[in-house]
Amino acid sequence: MNYQLLFVLSFVLFVVGMIGVAMRRNVIIVLVSLELMLNAVNILFVSASKYLHTLDGQVFVIMVITIAAAEAAIALALVVRLFRTMGMVKIDDLKRLKW
């Protein structure tokens, strides 16, 4: 099996997700892209797990999924909060940190 191809695949997917994070202005889409990046990593883990024939990769995936779930929950809660207080979800309006 050509594992290199799988690694390249996960890399490509990761980059695509990154582009989403970096370019999109809609918060929801940014978050979706973030999840997709994590997913790309998962693919890498599973491929590597098969390649190296150890289960560690798969165990890590469990971890990643857990963290991703927590992250999604928090992020979406933030979005809700944001929407309630500021009435918008556009990323480039979130410049409050810079004064």
């Binding site: 990154m18 970096a22 990323i91 480039d92 979130l94 410049k95 409050r96």
Partner: protein
Amino acid sequence: MELNVLRYIVLSPLIGFLINGIGGKRLGHRAVGLVANATVLISFLIGVYAFTVLLSMPVNERLLTDTVYTWISAGALTIDVKLMMDPLSVVMALVVSGVGFLIHVYSLGYMHEDRGYARYFSFLNLFMFSMLLLVLSSNIVLMFVGWEGVGLCSYLLIGFWYEKDSAANAGKKAFITNRIGDYGFLLGLFLLASSLASKGVLSLDFTAMAGHVALLSPAVLTVIGVLLFVGATGKSAQLPLYVWLPDAMEGPTPVSALIHAATMVTAGVYMIARMNFLYVLAPTALEVVAVVGALTALYAATIGLVQNDIKRVLAYSTISQLGYMFMGVGVGAFSAGIFHLMTHAFFKALLFLAAGSVMHALSGEQDMRKMGGLRTKIPVTYAVFLAAALAIAGIPGLSGFFSKDSILAAAYGSGHTVVWLLGFITALLTGLYIFRLMSMTFYGESRIDEHTAHHIHESPKVMTVPLIILAALSIIGGYVGVPRLLGNIFGWHDSDMFVHFLAPVFPVVPAHKMPVAVETWLMIGSIAMAVLGVFAALYVYVTKRMQPAKSAAQAVPGLYRLLLNKYYVDELYNAVIIRPLMALSRSFLWKFFDVWIVDGTVNGSAYVTEWASARLRKIQTGDFQVYVTIFLIGVFSVLAYFVLR
């Protein structure tokens, strides 16, 4: 010989100071006065006891010591709190505690009305402590403790009526001027210590030093001598650091008598006498001392001629007399200098106290132009004043005559003709100014205004008794040191007792032996000068009612004004030293250098940083996607580096 009661001479006034200083207000006048006087009296009595012990010892072993504890110990340098009493210190200690005690008693009456009664006496006791420490200490550092201590008390007592700006300023001036002198003194001390140390002796004990100064080169000794003398010019009000003493008259009059006439100001003379072992090896330094002393004597006497404030005349007179003392020690006649120190302590203390009594009678008036004719109104004061005036003028038979004459004789005999001449002229001026004072105060018609005249009264007993005792001392005090010449004439065996007593401490002055005829003529000359001065003053100020003085002042107004304004030395110091220094500090060092240059650099670097970050900040858009992009570029750059290298 170890004699452990010495420490109580010093300690007793200190205890008095502590009791009055802390207990002060709560004790009440009576207790405060009692404590202050009793402690000084105890010192005096112990001093007398020690004196008798000293007398009972063989002449060359007359030395008592008392080691109390080790004060400073750093490496090889050890400084003990150790007292010593040799003939020189015992003279000083007895004069200080004796005259001091009389002035304490006098103060009971003089200061009775004052609000700061307890404060006054505690300072006075502190002064006695410091002064006795100064004269009894056995090493130069401990002596410096007393030296500075008396300076402090002088400061506190000059500024005693601190609400008067003039008093406050005078106190500060005294302290700072003294500090300038002390700076010289300290440098001299350091040079002495370090040069002795380089010879392997690190001790500042007088006796140890005496045994080793011969190891040092004359040049070093001369520098040390001059530096120490700088200290003396500060403390003893000699040129050029005398300026504080006239102003010091702002203090209460007994203080002027005690500190600024009888005791503290003579500390410089004592110091040079104490360091005689060094000075005899440094003739150039002694020469400096003699010349400065002679110049000061003449200089101050000329100023004293025209002053109108009774205390200021006495102040300049003190400076002038101190000049005599330095002249004496400067020509190597240490015992003559100390002799004059002692007699001067008697009559000058008396002059001041009597002047205080005059002021007391006149409700505090100090301007002699508003006095006159007091002779009959306050006879006791007049009588004692006259005794003192005759003594200071050098009228034969009174104490001042003997001491002043021995100084002049020594000056001439040792070949210091110019110095002698200056002293000789000063003798005339002395008679002149002191009888000018007498005339303006006690003779002639009264110029006192009605209101004051009404209140004139003789001082109470507590004040007059010390005056009378001092008057007695002023008259007979000189007989302990009758010059050999006179002794031979009158057939006294014990003539020159004083010199003999001090002989173990001082080297013999060989130049003192000169032909009898010369000595006789010198004596006759100085008597003539003194008498001339006295009668000239009486003639001008009493017989002619000041007219000649006034016309003389009009004839040479420039000179008159120069003298009246004390040669403008204060103004000169002000313009040349004080103002430029203040201007330099304020305008240049502080407002420009410190604020602009030093702090400007510090703040400037902060501003540059801030400016740069304000520019760099533009990169920080706050847009997190920009950050992500930059971050990604970074990640890929690193990755690319590792992949492609």
